[in-house]
Amino acid sequence: MTHRLGRRKFLLYGTAALGSSILLKACTEGNVAETDAATPGAGGGVDTIKVGILHSLSGTMAISEQSVVDAEQLAIEEINNAGGVLGKKIQAVVEDGASDWPTFAEKARKLIDRDKVATVFGCWTSASRKAVLPVFESSGHMLWYPVQYEGQECSKNVFYTGAAPNQQIEPAVDWLLENKGQQFFLVGSDYVFPRTANTIIKAQLEAKGGQTVGEDYIPLGGTEVTAIITKIQAALPDGGVIFNTLNGDSNVAFFKQMQGAGLTPDKYPTMSVSIAEEEVRAIGTEYLKGHYAAWNYFQSVNTPENQKFVQAFKSKYGQNRVTNDPMEAAYIMVYLWKQAVEKAGTADDIEAVRKAAVGQTLQAPGGLVTLQNNHHLSKTVRIGEIGDDGMFKIVSETPAPVDPIPWNQYVADTKGYSCNWEDPTKGGKYMM
């Protein structure tokens, strides 16, 4: 059965493989050139501005990050169709972080050093952000980060366009205390975001008279939650609030099995901070109806900017697609970057763009946003209840945008600290 590969054969196969790979490469490169030519106004010789897009297109986080890439691509396409930035087209270099944190750092390094991008839009999990942080800080480059996160960080090299804890987690806890009960069970994935978020929630509950009756963590991607359900029933026999910071696929297992075990939303209302319209669609509305989520943006937000955004997204990617908070944050951050570049008059001088970015405002789909001097956005906070159609019914909404506070004021270690990148004497962490 076994036959050795002769030298002649090897040569032949080698030639064939080489030939086809060259052909393949030629074809794909041809594709890129063609799309450039297809966009109106891009004649030969007009140069482009390269930007990096760095997300997980594979692995456990692909479920969430792919749609963020779609939103970023939509913004880039819209800007290009409207004439580009400073008269130049934006060209996106997309890299796959593969839900693997060292890969993220490696790809960030590649985008900066080899592709010489003007800026990078990317990351979802805090673990991936923490992994790329040293790369951006050592090279003085910029990352635009579109996802709500746990705070306790304020880097000069990151613009955080998702919510800080005081724009999502803290208002959610307040709302639950006021409307749903005093006893909280905390469930999360076992990595940096849920652990830090739960530290904040516990400190906040202590300060406000609530009670943490238990907490548990599932490995990222884990699907066995029987033990957690037992714990919830033991700690809250008569019902209570569940605060859910699970990320990715584990959410599906959690909600499916919770319903099977008879934990219904009327007795055990669950507040999630990582479940948005995309996830509702993937998990199934039947399992999620009546549970809650806290975000700055829902697809159901009723503003003209949002209707335009939703419509543009659906006509590009299909009518069955939905938009969500990180997608909105990703979409607007491309526009904020464009505004900053236009104010600075250049895309290459990263320091100048950084300075110009602070203070930029935008009438976003989710309401007015302003990029503050701590590199975070002030945003409206909303709480939604999941309805039959998989959309969120907004049950609470702040009247004005909430200013971001990156260093948490409930946790003893960071109480009293603030961040200001406008003032060189203050920087990323100073005592107020």
Partner: protein
């Protein structure tokens, strides 16, 4: 008493998920000595089949929709079995007796399958079809020439880039002119939603806790699978042939047993069981390209602890691991310690679901120190892998 019953049931339900995931692997690994790292992806295929069947039944309306799972089970078995046979005929049969190579090859196949479900679209189907038609059709044409052996390599060297080029060009042209309907992936990287039919939602309340119907269904399904496999291997003529080939391949071949057919059949059954497992887990968790990866490690853990080549070992190991997992993860033993002691804090630290996994692995390592061959080691001469 209730606590005991609850632990027993929950441990059993975790164990049955482990068991149904491990059963097909145990057959392929235990009987044929093949380390099949693509087992998880065969489960994934079963889960996606369930998703497709569900969508088809949704069109039939309510009374029929409830029964989609009954139709999905045999279909998931068939789809995964077919994929398994393709895998065996296409890759593994060249690698029998070389465990490391099969390990690498099947891992490669698992990556290919994952990427396939992410990006498969009508356009991609068409491209694969056109490529196969051109390449294999061309090869078939060349084969009819009398001097085939002489020009074989040359023909491949010309045909391969030629058909690849035509396929790619076709894809580029169609991709640009055709709309989303053709280029949009069927499933995408996003997980898809499998909803349990109405009669599988909810559960039987017992005291303060509730036995979920889905778990009961999976336990029943697992029992049926184990009994079915047992009867097949020990009571049917093909089972006898499989066992004969396992014991002594060349002697079996001399006695007229079609060993290649036996290999393919064994692989088909092992893979088909993976498909059923995929159908079952789609009721519990998410269905996505990496669904299988969450289970492959657990499945191997069960097979190794149980002892290779013994179905009974797999059964006992799965149930034991499920029970230990539950007891550590749920922290029920903490209630026996007074809440103020240092021991309480220590135990609380270990009583999380992610710590339970770590602890289970620690226990398994210790156990394998004592019994390296697992719970029920193979007796007599080691089977020639």
């Amino acid at each position: 008493m209730e606590l005991f019953l609850q632990s027993l049931f929950n441990g059993l339900s975790i164990g049955s998920v482990l068991l149904i995931a491990a059963l097909g692997l145990a057959i392929v690994f235990g009987i044929m000595g093949v380390i099949n790292l693509a087992h998880g992806e065969l489960m994934m295929l079963g889960a996606y089949t369930t998703f497709v069947v569900q969508n088809v039944f949704r069109g039939f309306g309510e009374p029929w929709f409830g029964f989609y799972i009954i139709a999905a089970l045999p279909l998931a078995f068939l789809v995964a079995a077919l994929a398994g046979v393709l895998l065996e005929r296409g890759v593994i049969r060249y690698l029998y007796g070389r465990p490391l190579e099969t390990l690498l090859a099947t891992w490669g196949v698992s990556l290919i399958l994952q990427q396939l479900v992410r990006s498969i679209s009508w356009l991609m189907c068409l491209q694969i079809g056109v490529f196969c038609l051109l390449f294999f059709g061309g090869l078939w044409g060349v084969k009819r020439r009398p001097d085939f052996e002489r020009i074989r390599n040359g023909a491949i060297a010309i045909l391969l880039p030629l058909s690849a080029g035509i396929t790619l060009a076709l894809g580029a042209i169609l991709g640009k002119s055709a709309g989303l309907a053709l280029t949009q992936p069927w499933f995408g990287a996003q997980g898809v939603d499998v909803t349990a039919p109405g009669w599988l939602r909810g559960g039987i309340p017992i005291g303060t806790f509730q036995l979920p119907y889905v778990r009961l269904f999976i336990i029943a399904l697992t029992v049926v699978c184990v009994v079915g496999i047992y009867l097949f291997l020990l009571r049917s003529p093909w089972g006898l042939r499989i066992r004969a080939v396992t014991q002594n391949r060349s002697m079996s071949a001399c006695l007229g047993i079609p060993t290649q057919k036996v290999d393919a059949l064994t692989f088909a059954i092992g893979s088909g069981l993976a498909g059923i497992a995929g159908c079952a887990i789609s009721l519990l968790g998410s269905v996505g390209p990496n669904t299988g990866q969450n289970y492959i490690v657990d499945a191997f853990m069960v097979v190794v602890v149980g002892g290779v080549g013994k179905i009974i070992g797999t059964v006992v190991a799965a149930l034991a691991i499920g029970l230990v997992n539950y007891i550590i993860g749920s922290g029920i033993f903490i209630s026996m310690v007074s809440p103020d002691s240092a021991l309480f804090n220590f135990l609380t630290f270990f009583a999380t679901t992610s710590m339970a996994r770590v602890m289970v692995f620690v226990l398994i390592i210790l156990f394998l120190q004592l019994r390296p061959a697992g719970l029920f080691p193979q007796k007599g001469r080691t089977v020639d892998a």
